[in-house]
C-alpha cells in the first residue's frame, strides 16, 4: 500500500520514543527530506539525547523547515510530536509558507516502545516518559483534524506499518502545469450575459442550443480548435443575467471547454447556497432573485460547482498563473487559507479611501516573479501589463467593457457594455494619462533589483553571475553618471584582441584574428575597418511623442547618444550641440527612409563617433598629451647632458645615449599617433559618425542578420548624408582561400600604415557558435602597429618590450567579452519584448558590473 501525501507538504511523524519513526522515515523518504529533533540536538550539542539542548535544537529545526518550505520542498519532521503545543507551532510554520500539514501517526503498542528503548544502550529514558508520550498521543488523536492536518495516516502495529510500500506525492489541485492552452482569459463578467456571448463569438466560439442534459443546461459551445476559456471569477451579481452566465460557464466547464477560478462574489453566493447568512448588498440580491426562479436541483448543482472551484491555477509549465484578485509569487502553486483569501480579495492595507472603498495593496508593483499573472477583481479603464501581471477587469457591469486576452498570443479582444448596469462608486474613466502603468512604475528602479550578488538569465549563455563587488562599482557609475535608465536599452560589450602575433615585428596581426575563426570552423568572415573615435550607442526616436509612448520618457528629447558606460556623450553645457547632433542624425535617417524600411519609429545603433578628442578630451589632456609633453621636455635635456659628457671623453655612455635617442624618437611617433585622431570641434559638422550595427528596431533585435547585412544596410544610410555618416570599409574573407586571407592582411597593413587604428574581424553571422555549441567571440580586434603606441606606451615596439608584452593572457578578456555580449543582446531582446524596465536594466547593469572586473588595460 502506498500512502498519499500532498506534493508540497509538511509531514509530522507522531509517536512515542521507540515507535519506529526514524526507521520509517529512513525507509520511505530521502535523507534530506527528514529533519529530526535528535539530529538537531546533536548538531547544537554533540549529544542527540541532550535535554539541555532542546531549545536550541528546536530553533534549528524550525529554521531548517522554514528554508525547505520556502523552497517548496516536502519536509518530514521526525520528533515525537505528541504534544498539541509542539504540533501547533509546526502547523503555523506550514501555514506561513502556504504548505499543507499532514501527519503520520505511529500508535505502536506501549510494550513494544518500552522494549525497544530498554534495548538501546545510548539512551536511558525512564519508562514513565514513554508512558506519558503514549498517553499524550492517544489523547491527541481526536483533535488532529481540527488542528488543521489535511492528511492523517494512522498505524497501530508493526504489521500495519510493514504494508506500506512507498509514498505517493499528490499534485495540488492548483497545479495544472500540464495544460498549455491556448487559452482565452476573460475578466469579471458579473452577469453581463449579452456581452459575454458577443465576446465569445468574437473570440471564435460558436454558441448553439442543444438538447438539455444534466451538464449542458441546453447550451452547446464549440470552441476554436484546441482553445479553452478561463473565467477569472465573479461571474455573478450586479449584472442583468447572472444565472444565464452561470449556466453558460458551467456548461463550458463541464464540457471541458472552460476553466473557472472563483471570485469573491461567487464565494459569497456559495455561502448563501450553503444556508449561511449573507448581507444582501453589492448585487447578490439580484442574483438571488434570479435563482429563486430556478429549480432546487440547479441550486444544488451550482453549490457543488462553486464548492469545487480551486482558488488559482498554475498553468503552462509554470509560466501562467490565473486567479481572481492576483497572487504574489510566494503564494503561487501553494495552498492555505491565506492563499485562498488573497486569490479572492487581494490584500488590503486596512485603510479606507475617499470613496469609502478599502485601499488595496498594489502587490503587482512589487511583483518580481517569472510567471505571468492574469487576474481581475478591480475595475480599471484599460488592461495593461505591469511587471508581468495584467488585470482584465475592465468594468463591463459598470458600463466599461468586457475584455479577453488570448494566451499565449497576448492579443486583447473586448466588447463594450450595452449599458451601465451598476453605478460605480469610483468613476472608471480617470484623467488623461501620459504613461502606461508600467512606464509610470518604471520611473523609479528599485535598488534591490540591482544590488548584491546577482544572477542574470540570458538567452545566449544561460545564467550569468554578477559578483557583489562588481555590483557595487556599477551602482556608483550608474548612479553618478548614467543617463535616464529608460534610454539605456543596451551597453556594448568589450572586445578582445587577437592572439599575439607570431612575427617578431608585430604584437597584433590579422592572421591571428582570422585564424581564431578559421580554427573554429567558420568559413566566411567580415573584416571591418576600426574607426578611432569613441564608442557611442544611439537610441533615436522619430519624434518626442515616440520617446514618450515607447520609452516612457518625458521632456528629455527624442533620442540619446551615450557612451559605453551609459554616460551622455555630451556634457550638460553642450545641450545645444547635442540637440543639433541628434537632429542631424535623425535627418539622415529620415532621408534614408529608415522608419519605413524597418517598419519602426525608433532605432538603436552601435557606432563609433569621431573625433576621439570630442569625448576623450580629458584623457588626452591628462594622459596622452601630458605624457608627450613631459617626455619631450625631459628627454632632450638628458640627451644634451649625455652628449656633453661624451664630448668630455666619458666613454661608457654610448649605449645609454642610443637608448635615450630611441626614446625621443618613439615619443615623437607616439605624439603623432594620438594627434591623428584629434581635430578641433567647432560645430556639429565636425562630427563623423560611423554606425556598424543596427542593433534593434520595433519588434526586432537584428542579431539574426549577418554582419554583411548590417554593413549593407548602413551603407544605404551613409550614402544619404556623407557629411555626418562615415562608411565602414569592409572585406569579406573566405577562410579556405589563402588568397582571400592575404588580401585582408595587406589591406590591414595598408590601413594601419596610413594611421588607421586597425580592423575588427567578425564571423559572417552576428551570433556564432562552435560545432560544440560554444558561443564564439562576436568580434576580434587587430590593432595597427602605430596605434598600439597609445595603448602600450611609446616604446612598446622595442624588441625587449615586445617580447614581454607578448606574454599576455586573453582568456579573461574573452570570457568578459562573451558575457557582456550575451547580456547586451539580452537587454535588447527584453526591451523589444516590452518587458518592464527593471528587467532591461538588470541586464544593462550587469554589463557595467562586468566592466569593473579587472583586466589588463592594454587589451
Amino acid at each position: 500500500m502506498k500512502i498519499a501525501l500532498p506534493d508540497m507538504s509538511l509531514v509530522l511523524l507522531m509517536g512515542a520514543s521507540g515507535s519506529g519513526k526514524s526507521t520509517f522515515a529512513k525507509r520511505h523518504f530521502l535523507a534530506s527530506e527528514v529533519v529530526s529533533s535528535d539530529g538537531c540536538r546533536a548538531i547544537v550539542s554533540n549529544d542527540e539525547n541532550s535535554l539541555a539542548a532542546t531549545n536550541d535544537a528546536f530553533d534549528l529545526l524550525f529554521y531548517i523547515i522554514g528554508k525547505r518550505l520556502k523552497n517548496g520542498l516536502l519536509t518530514v519532521v521526525d520528533a515525537t510530536n505528541v504534544q498539541a503545543s509542539s504540533r501547533k507551532k509546526l502547523v503555523q510554520l506550514a501555514r506561513e509558507y502556504h504548505c499543507l500539514p499532514s501527519i503520520i501517526v505511529l500508535d505502536m503498542p506501549l510494550r513494544l516502545c518500552e522494549d525497544r528503548n530498554a534495548a538501546r544502550k545510548d539512551r536511558s529514558m525512564g519508562a514513565h516518559v514513554i508512558r506519558h508520550q503514549h498517553a499524550a498521543l492517544r489523547k491527541s488523536m481526536r483533535n488532529l483534524k481540527r488542528e488543521g492536518f489535511r492528511k492523517i495516516h494512522l498505524f497501530k502495529s508493526t504489521e500495519e506499518l510493514d504494508t506500506v510500500t512507498g509514498i505517493e506525492k499528490e499534485k495540488l489541485y492548483n497545479d495544472r502545469k500540464d495544460l498549455h492552452g491556448p487559452f482565452d482569459l476573460i475578466g469579471d463578467v458579473h452577469g453581463c450575459y449579452v456581452e459575454l456571448c458577443e465576446l465569445l463569438a468574437k473570440l471564435g466560439y460558436q454558441i448553439t442550443e442543444a438538447p438539455a442534459d444534466e451538464s449542458n443546461y441546453g447550451i452547446q459551445v464549440i470552441p476554436p480548435k484546441g482553445r479553452q476559456v478561463i473565467f477569472l471569477g465573479d461571474l455573478v451579481d450586479r449584472g442583468p443575467a447572472s444565472v444565464a452566465v452561470l449556466k453558460l460557464a458551467m456548461s463550458m466547464v463541464n464540457a471541458g471547454h472552460a476553466i473557472c477560478v472563483p471570485g469573491n462574489h461567487d464565494m459569497k453566493l456559495l455561502r448563501w447556497l450553503k444556508g449561511k447568512n449573507v448581507a444582501m448588498t453589492h448585487g447578490i440580491e439580484g442574483t438571488i432573485a434570479e435563482l429563486e426562479q430556478e429549480p432546487a436541483s440547479f441550486k444544488v448543482e451550482l453549490r457543488d460547482f462553486l464548492y469545487k472551484l480551486v482558488s488559482h491555477f498554475v498553468l503552462d509549465r509554470g509560466r501562467l498563473v490565473v486567479c481572481h484578485a492576483g497572487l504574489k509569487e510566494k503564494m503561487q502553486g501553494r495552498a492555505s487559507g491565506a492563499v485562498r483569501s488573497f486569490c479572492l480579495f487581494g490584500e488590503s492595507t486596512g485603510e479606507i479611501d475617499e470613496y469609502g472603498l478599502p485601499v488595496r495593496y498594489n502587490w503587482a508593483k512589487d511583483y518580481r516573479g517569472e510567471a505571468k499573472v492574469v487576474y481581475g477583481h478591480t475595475p480599471i479603464p484599460k488592461a495593461e501589463w505591469l511587471n508581468k501581471t495584467i488585470n482584465l477587469d475592465t468594468g463591463c457591469v459598470f458600463g466599461g467593457s468586457l475584455t479577453a486576452m488570448r494566451y499565449p498570443e497576448e492579443d486583447f479582444v473586448s466588447v463594450v457594455a450595452k449599458e451601465v448596469y451598476w453605478e460605480p462608486t469610483k468613476s472608471l474613466t480617470t484623467a488623461e494619462v501620459l504613461l502606461t502603468s508600467q512606464q509610470e512604475h518604471d520611473d523609479l528602479l528599485d535598488i534591490d533589483d540591482v544590488r548584491g550578488k546577482r544572477i542574470v538569465q540570458t538567452g545566449l549563455m544561460n545564467n550569468l553571475t554578477i559578483r557583489e563587488e562588481n555590483s557595487i562599482s556599477a551602482l556608483e557609475i550608474m548612479g553618478r553618471f548614467a543617463v535616464n535608465p529608460k534610454w539605456l536599452i543596451y551597453l556594448p560589450p568589450t572586445m578582445s584582441p587577437c592572439e599575439t602575433s607570431a612575427s617578431e615585428e608585430y604584437l597584433e596581426h590579422p592572421l591571428e584574428a582570422i585564424n581564431y575563426y578559421k580554427k573554429r570552423g567558420i568559413k566566411t568572415l567580415v573584416c571591418e575597418e576600426k574607426h578611432m573615435g569613441s564608442r557611442a550607442v544611439i537610441v533615436l526616436c522619430r519624434s518626442e511623442a515616440v520617446a514618450l509612448n515607447r520609452f516612457g520618457i518625458k521632456n528629455d528629447g527624442f533620442g540619446k547618444c551615450y557612451t559605453r558606460t551609459g554616460r551622455n556623450f555630451f556634457a550638460q553645457k553642450q545641450a545645444a550641440l547635442e540637440q543639433a547632433f541628434l537632429e542631424k542624425v535623425r535627418a539622415g535617417l529620415d532621408k534614408a527612409n529608415v522608419w519605413e524600411k524597418f517598419d519602426t519609429d525608433w532605432i538603436c545603433l552601435d557606432c563609433e563617433l569621431m573625433p576621439w578628442s570630442a569625448k576623450a578630451q580629458a584623457l588626452l589632456k591628462e594622459q596622452y598629451a601630458a605624457v608627450g609633453s613631459a617626455a619631450s621636455h625631459a628627454l632632450p635635456v638628458a640627451i644634451t647632458a649625455m652628449q656633453q659628457a661624451s664630448a668630455r671623453g666619458i666613454t661608457d655612455l654610448e649605449e645609454l645615449l642610443t637608448k635615450y635617442k630611441y626614446r625621443d624618437q618613439s615619443i615623437s611617433k607616439f605624439i603623432k599617433a594620438y594627434r591623428q585622431y584629434c581635430w578641433p570641434l567647432e560645430s556639429v559638422d565636425d562630427f563623423k559618425l560611423a554606425p556598424f550595427h543596427i542593433l534593434a528596431s520595433e519588434g526586432q533585435v537584428h542579431s539574426n542578420k549577418s554582419n554583411e547585412w548590417h554593413m549593407q544596410k548602413i551603407a544605404e544610410i551613409v550614402e544619404k548624408d556623407s557629411s555626418l555618416f562615415q562608411a565602414t570599409p569592409y572585406k569579406i574573407v573566405d577562410t579556405d582561400s589563402e588568397e582571400s586571407i592575404e588580401t585582408a592582411c595587406s589591406w590591414w597593413m595598408d590601413l594601419t600604415q596610413k594611421g588607421g587604428e586597425g580592423m575588427v574581424v567578425k564571423p559572417l553571422d552576428f551570433i556564432c557558435h562552435e560545432d560544440s555549441g560554444k558561443l564564439l567571440q562576436p568580434a576580434v580586434k587587430c590593432r595597427g602597429k602605430e596605434y598600439l603606441r597609445i595603448i602600450y606606451g611609446a616604446e612598446y615596439d622595442h624588441p625587449s618590450q615586445l617580447a614581454r608584452l607578448k606574454k599576455r593572457g586573453l582568456s579573461r578578456k574573452r570570457s568578459l567579452a562573451l558575457r557582456e555580449f550575451a547580456l547586451g543582446i539580452e537587454s535588447l531582446k527584453r526591451f523589444v519584448a516590452g518587458e518592464p524596465l527593471r528587467r532591461i536594466h538588470e541586464s544593462v547593469f550587469a554589463v557595467l558590473a562586468l566592466e569593473s572586473e579587472e583586466v589588463d588595460p592594454g587589451l
Binding site: 523609479l444 562599482s473 605624457v627 635635456v637 666619458i650 655612455l653
Partner: protein
C-alpha cells in the same frame, strides 16, 4: 627623471668628493623598476655638474605596482608620465646614489660638509599637480632658493588644450650639500603628489629623518607632509607629531579643493548648522544621505537625541573612509548600535531609507545631473518621506569671490550644476508644493552684499 646639480664653488671639482662619485666615470645604481645613471657632463675647476638620470621601465612598474596597490592606482596604465617626471623614484635614486652625501659625510674633504656652497639645480621635469607655480615657489623659496620655472604646453599642435602641469625647474642657492639633497628628497615627491608605491608608516620615518633639521620650521610644513604622504590623515598626523607640531585632532584637512582657503571654516560651519537643524527638528532616527567620509555623522553621534544614525553614500570608497574616520573596527558596541553605513544611490527606490524622522543631503544634489533630480525627489520626498529634509548646495552667485575660479566654472569638477539662490528657491518651492512639504531657506557662511553666502540650505518639513 633628470637632475643636474652644478656648483661654481672653487674648485668646482670638489663636487666629485662631495657626491662621492668619480667625475671621470659614468656609474649606475640599480633601482626597483630600473636604474639610475650618474655622470658628469662638465667637470672643470670653474664649474662642475653632476647628473642623475633615471631609466625607469614603465612596463615592469605597471605590472609590479598593480600587484601592490589594487586597481584604483593611477599608475596602472602602460602610458604614464612616471619615466619622465621627477617623483619619489627620484628620491629613492638620490638616497641610493648619494647616500654618503645625504648623511653629511665627506671623507676626502670633511670641511666641505658644513659649508654652504653655491649650487645650481636643474630638474626636468617636475609635475606640480594641484598647486602649480605658486606651490613650487612656496616650497623652495622659504629655504632660500631662487626659483626659475618654465612651464610646458600640453601639445604645440593643439594650443587650446592649454598648459601642462609640467615644469622645467631651475634652482640656485648657497646651501650645504646634505641639506640640498634632503630638500630635494622631500620636496620633489611632495610636488609630484603621486607615490610610486603604497604608502606606509615607513614613509613617515623617512620623512622625519630627511626633514628633521628644516621641515619643522618650513611655513608650508603641513602641506608638504600632506602631499608627501598623499593625504593619508593618520600618517600625516603621525608625521606632524613627529615634528612636534601636531594640532588638535579635529583640525584635519581633506583633499585640496578650490574653496579650501575658506573650507575649513565653511564646511565645518555648514555641518554644525545642519546638525543644529536636525536637533531642533526633534528627530530621533536620522539619515545622512551622501555622508561621504562621515564628518556629519561624527557630529551626530555626539548628540544623545539621535538613537539611529544611518549614513549612505554612492561611493563604496567614501564609506570605507568614513569607517576609518569613525574607527569602525574598534567602535564601542553601544555606539555601533546607533549607527549603520551602507551604499545607496539616491536615484533608486530603497526601502532601507524608509521610516526615518529626518534626512540630510549636505552638498549632494549638485553631484547629480539636473535631469536625474526628479528620481531623487521621488525616492526621498515621494517615497521615504522623512518629516524633515535638509538640503544644502553651493550658492553660485558667491563664486565670484573665489579668485582662482574662472567665470562660469564650478567649484568642484564633479559638480553638475551650481545654483543661484533664486534657482535653489525655485526648485525647493516647486518640490515642496508637489510633495506636500513646507520649506524655508537659510544662508550658510558669511553673507556678502548682493551675492549672499557661499552655501545655502533649505529645510523641508512634511506638512501635517
Amino acid at each position: 627623471m633628470f637632475l643636474r646639480i652644478s656648483t661654481t664653488h672653487q674648485p668646482a671639482t670638489d663636487l666629485g668628493y662631495l657626491m662621492h662619485k668619480h667625475p671621470a666615470r659614468a656609474q649606475e645604481v640599480k633601482l626597483s623598476h630600473g636604474k639610475a645613471h650618474i655622470f658628469y657632463p662638465e667637470a672643470s675647476e670653474k664649474r662642475t655638474s653632476i647628473c642623475l638620470l633615471l631609466d625607469i621601465d614603465p612596463i615592469e612598474m605597471v605590472r609590479g605596482v598593480r600587484k601592490l596597490s589594487g586597481k584604483k592606482f593611477a599608475l596602472g596604465h602602460y602610458v604614464n608620465d612616471r619615466p619622465y617626471v621627477a617623483s619619489s623614484f627620484m628620491s629613492v635614486a638620490i638616497a641610493k646614489s648619494f647616500s654618503t652625501a645625504l648623511n653629511g659625510t665627506c671623507t676626502a674633504k670633511p670641511e666641505l660638509v658644513e659649508q654652504e656652497l653655491p649650487f645650481e639645480i636643474e630638474v626636468a621635469v617636475v609635475s606640480a599637480a594641484k598647486g602649480g607655480e605658486m606651490l613650487i615657489r612656496k616650497l623652495f623659496e622659504p629655504l632660500g632658493y631662487k626659483v626659475n620655472l618654465e612651464r610646458h604646453v600640453l601639445d604645440s599642435k593643439f594650443e587650446d588644450w592649454g598648459k601642462s602641469k609640467y615644469y622645467t625647474l631651475k634652482l640656485s642657492n648657497n646651501v650645504k650639500t646634505k641639506d640640498l639633497l634632503s630638500h630635494l628628497y622631500v620636496l620633489l615627491p611632495a610636488l609630484d603628489f603621486d607615490k610610486h608605491y603604497y604608502i606606509s608608516r615607513g614613509e613617515v620615518d623617512k620623512l622625519l629623518d630627511k626633514g628633521k633639521d628644516w621641515l619643522g620650521k618650513h611655513p608650508e610644513r603641513e602641506q608638504i607632509v600632506n602631499r608627501y604622504l598623499k593625504n593619508f590623515r593618520s600618517l600625516s598626523r603621525m608625521a606632524m607629531e613627529g615634528l612636534s607640531l601636531a594640532e588638535e585632532p579635529n583640525e584635519e584637512k581633506g583633499p585640496i579643493e578650490i574653496d579650501k582657503p575658506r573650507r575649513k571654516t565653511l564646511h565645518e560651519l555648514r555641518l554644525k548648522r545642519v546638525c543644529q537643524e536636525l536637533v531642533a527638528s526633534g528627530a530621533k532616527r536620522v539619515l545622512d544621505l551622501g555622508c561621504g567620509e562621515g564628518k556629519l555623522i561624527q557630529l551626530l553621534l555626539k548628540q544623545k537625541q539621535f538613537t539611529e544614525i544611518v549614513g549612505t553614500d554612492i561611493s563604496h570608497t567614501e564609506l570605507n573612509r568614513a569607517k576609518d574616520r569613525l574607527h569602525w573596527e574598534n567602535m564601542a558596541p553601544k555606539m555601533k548600535e546607533r549607527i549603520r553605513l551602507f551604499q545607496s544611490a539616491l536615484t533608486y527606490r530603497d526601502k532601507r531609507l524608509h521610516g526615518f524622522d529626518a534626512a540630510a543631503l549636505v552638498e549632494v544634489i549638485e553631484h547629480l545631473e539636473e535631469d536625474r533630480l526628479e528620481a531623487l525627489e521621488k525616492v526621498i520626498f515621494g517615497i521615504a518621506r522623512p518629516k524633515t529634509v535638509i538640503v544644502t548646495t553651493p550658492n553660485s552667485e558667491y563664486n565670484e569671490m573665489y579668485e582662482t575660479l574662472a567665470a562660469g566654472d564650478m567649484r568642484h569638477t564633479d559638480h553638475r550644476f551650481e545654483w543661484t539662490r533664486a534657482e535653489f528657491a525655485n526648485w525647493g518651492d516647486r518640490l515642496a508644493s508637489d510633495k506636500k512639504y513646507s520649506v524655508s531657506y537659510h544662508p550658510l557662511g558669511e553673507e556678502e552684499e548682493n551675492i549672499g553666502a557661499p552655501s545655502q540650505m533649505a529645510v523641508f518639513v512634511l506638512e501635517k
